[in-house]
Symmetry: C2
Subunit: 219 residues, 2 copies
C-alpha cells in the first residue's frame, strides 16, 4: 500500500537524524530524555521543579516542542536553564531533524542532561525517535487510570513513567487507581520505573531525582 | 515539497469520504457531532450522561474511536444507546472512510443524533473532517487554561467548547482561569458556544442540553 510506504520513508528519514543525534550525545557523553504526555499533564511543571531542585547537582538544558507559542520555554527560562524553542507549526510531534538543529544552539558542553519536552500528544510522538537515551511518559491522575491500556504505544516504549498531580487524589475529587495504572503499564513494559509525584507540592519528587541522578552512571 | 503533496493526497481522499458522509446525514436529516479532546478530558463521561439525561427527548447513537480496546464503547453501551467501535490500530485520528463504514452499522433511521467520539488527541483529529455538522472540543480544567493558545487548530474549528471537570476548581486544587480560556478561544473563534460543566456532578449540563436540543431546528 502506498500510504504505508510513505510513512516508512518519513520514518526512515527521521531515523537517519535520530542516529546522528545518538552519536552526538554519545560523543559529548551527555544524557538525553524525551518527555511525552497528553496536553496539560504537567511536563513543564515537572521539568521546572526538577531543574530548580537539582541545580547544584545536574546542569539541565531544555528543548521545548510546541505547535505554536513559547509559553513553556518562557516558564523554563525563569529557572535560568538554557532553553531552545521548536515550533512545529501544526505538526503533532517533534522530529529528529528539528532536535538536531536545536542541540547545536544549546551550550551542550556545559550541561549534564538535555531534556526534550515533546508536543502534548500521547500518540504520535511515540513513533518518532529523537536520538534520546530514554523516553519518559507523564500521566496526570486527572486523565484516568485506563490510559496505559488505551494508549499502549508510549507506555510500552518509555523507560519511566511519572504519575503526576497526586495531590488531586486527596479529598477524593479524582478517581484514579494507582495500582491499576502501574499494573497495566508494567504489563506492557515489565522493567518500567514508576514514580508517583506531585510537581506542584513536591511529593514523591525525591525518588524521581534519585533515579535521574543514578542514571548518569550509565552514560 | 513531496511530503506536503502526500499529506494533501491523504486529505483529499479523506474529503471524498467526508463529503459522502455529509450527504448521508443530510439525506437522513440527522445531526452528527465530532467530539475531540486530549485523552482523559471526559468525553465519554459527558456523552454517557448526555445520553441518559436526554433519553426521552433525543435518540443518540455513538461511534467510538480508540486506538485499541473497547472500554469506552462498553461504558456507552451501558446507557443502552447503540454504539459502534472503531479501533484505529495505532492511528492518531479517525478517518471519514472509517466513519462511513461505521454509520452503516448504526440504526440511523431510529436516531436523532450521531456523536463520534474521536481518538484522544488535541492535534491530529482537527485536520480530518468526518462529515460532521460540527466539531465539539472538550477541555478539562486539569489540563490548564493555556490550551486554546497552545493548540489553536481545534479551538478555531469547533462550534462549541465544553470546559469540563469544573468540580475540581472547588477547594482551589486546580488553577484554571475560565475567563482566560474563554477569551483566548473566542479570539480564535468569535462565535464559539462555551459551556462550563462537570459531567461528574451534572453542574452546567442543562445549558449544553438546551443548545444541543436547539441545534436540531437547523437540521
Amino acid at each position: 500500500m502506498k500510504k504505508v510506504d510513505v510513512v516508512k520513508k518519513i520514518l526512515y528519514a527521521n531515523e537517519k537524524y535520530a542516529l546522528e543525534n545518538v552519536l552526538f550525545f554519545a560523543e559529548h557523553k551527555k544524557l538525553c530524555l524525551n518527555m511525552i504526555s497528553s496536553p496539560g499533564s504537567g511536563k513543564t511543571t515537572i521539568l521546572a521543579r526538577t531543574i530548580s531542585d537539582l541545580k547544584e547537582r545536574i546542569k539541565i538544558g531544555v528543548i521545548e516542542g510546541d505547535i505554536q507559542t513559547d509559553i513553556d520555554a518562557e516558564r523554563i527560562s525563569r529557572t535560568k536553564a538554557p532553553v531552545v524553542q521548536i515550533n512545529t507549526d501544526g505538526a503533532c510531534h517533534l522530529s529528529a531533524a528539528q532536535v538536531s538543529a536545536a542541540i547545536r544552539e544549546l551550550p551542550v558542553k556545559e550541561l549534564d542532561l538535555v531534556v526534550i519536552e515533546n508536543v502534548g500528544n500521547l500518540v504520535c510522538p511515540s513513533d518518532f525517535d529523537l536520538g534520546e537515551n530514554a523516553k519518559i511518559v507523564v500521566l496526570s491522575v486527572a486523565e484516568g487510570d485506563d490510559k496505559p491500556i488505551k494508549y499502549p504505544g508510549i507506555f510500552a516504549k518509555s523507560k519511566a513513567m511519572l504519575i503526576n498531580k497526586i495531590d488531586l487524589l486527596e479529598g477524593g475529587l479524582v478517581d484514579f487507581d494507582i495500582e491499576r495504572a502501574k499494573t497495566d503499564a508494567r504489563r506492557l513494559n515489565k522493567d518500567m520505573e514508576i514514580f508517583t509525584v506531585s510537581a506542584k507540592t513536591g511529593e514523591g519528587m525525591n525518588d524521581w531525582y534519585a533515579w535521574l541522578t543514578e542514571s548518569f552512571k550509565n552514560v
